[in-house]
Symmetry: C2
Subunit: 183 residues, 2 copies
Amino acid sequence: MATPLLVHFLAGASGPWRITDIRSVVGPVPDPAPRLAVHEGRDPPAAAWALRAVTSNIRYTRRDEVAQLTARQEGLGRPAANRAALIPIRKTPAWWAMAQDERRAIMEEQSRHIAIGLDYLPGVARRLHHARDLGEPFDFLTWFEFPEADTARFDELLARLRATPEWDHVEAEFEVRLERDGG
Amino acid sequence: MATPLLVHFLAGASGPWRITDIRSVVGPVPDPAPRLAVHEGRDPPAAAWALRAVTSNIRYTRRDEVAQLTARQEGLGRPAANRAALIPIRKTPAWWAMAQDERRAIMEEQSRHIAIGLDYLPGVARRLHHARDLGEPFDFLTWFEFPEADTARFDELLARLRATPEWDHVEAEFEVRLERDGG
């Protein structure tokens, strides 16, 4: 685990990803834009709209679960992964007021969030970014990359997660769907 | 638990707290300064040096432990609490690479960090601030307030914590000791 990496997701006229859709799950969506760039580090270029967050340390995952994830997951930037999704999520104040064991129980023992994600590895790669402590409008930005052939599987992953008790605590969520140039 | 609060600790010519000492525990200390102010929110005034961090959600504490803390702890700003300390800490990369259960085991099951803190309530009030995800030089800034009569007890609290296995993972730490005007 390296130092937290600040990441900006920049929507506008440029960037390697073509935005194919912005769809609401709960709450409003940002303005349409043609393209999206992922900027790692400080001082991002100007954009039509931007969301920022940091990779950070693990918050819930146990060592045995980390071992399973590490054995199966692949990184970002695979040539075959020509589809992507950016999903910002904000959870309720009641969620954030819970103790650590209460959040862990809902997330994994009741909702199997980590276990469900394992079912879609290595096809669906993901990177979680934390934004709540930065004062941003969303708590998490998750970035997913997958081959076009895994699109239906990715949709299934989202449907399974959204049917869990954990999602009762999601108060805002939208999806940005993307295709990479040449993909 | 409210929204994360951004807090700046500002050392310089002004502020209600008089800096009586800056002492190293591990690693370098900042320049001397006469006074310290605690600025809540964005856009802090200029200062000789500043450290910033956010209050955030609970990371390790279980519901039963939260209940014990809540029953006994008092807030900041008590008139009798005329002494304070600001203690920045940075933990090792190896600490941050651990899974959640590994960090919890070292912190509480082996080191009894939460239980030790309970022994000093309500005399020693504290507020923990997180800075790692902000790209700051320290991971945590803890602010303590206590009556002058509790100074020896506060020193004992620090000595007990620093003798635990958790502190093997602390790679930088210093103390700023303070007295309030009129105190």
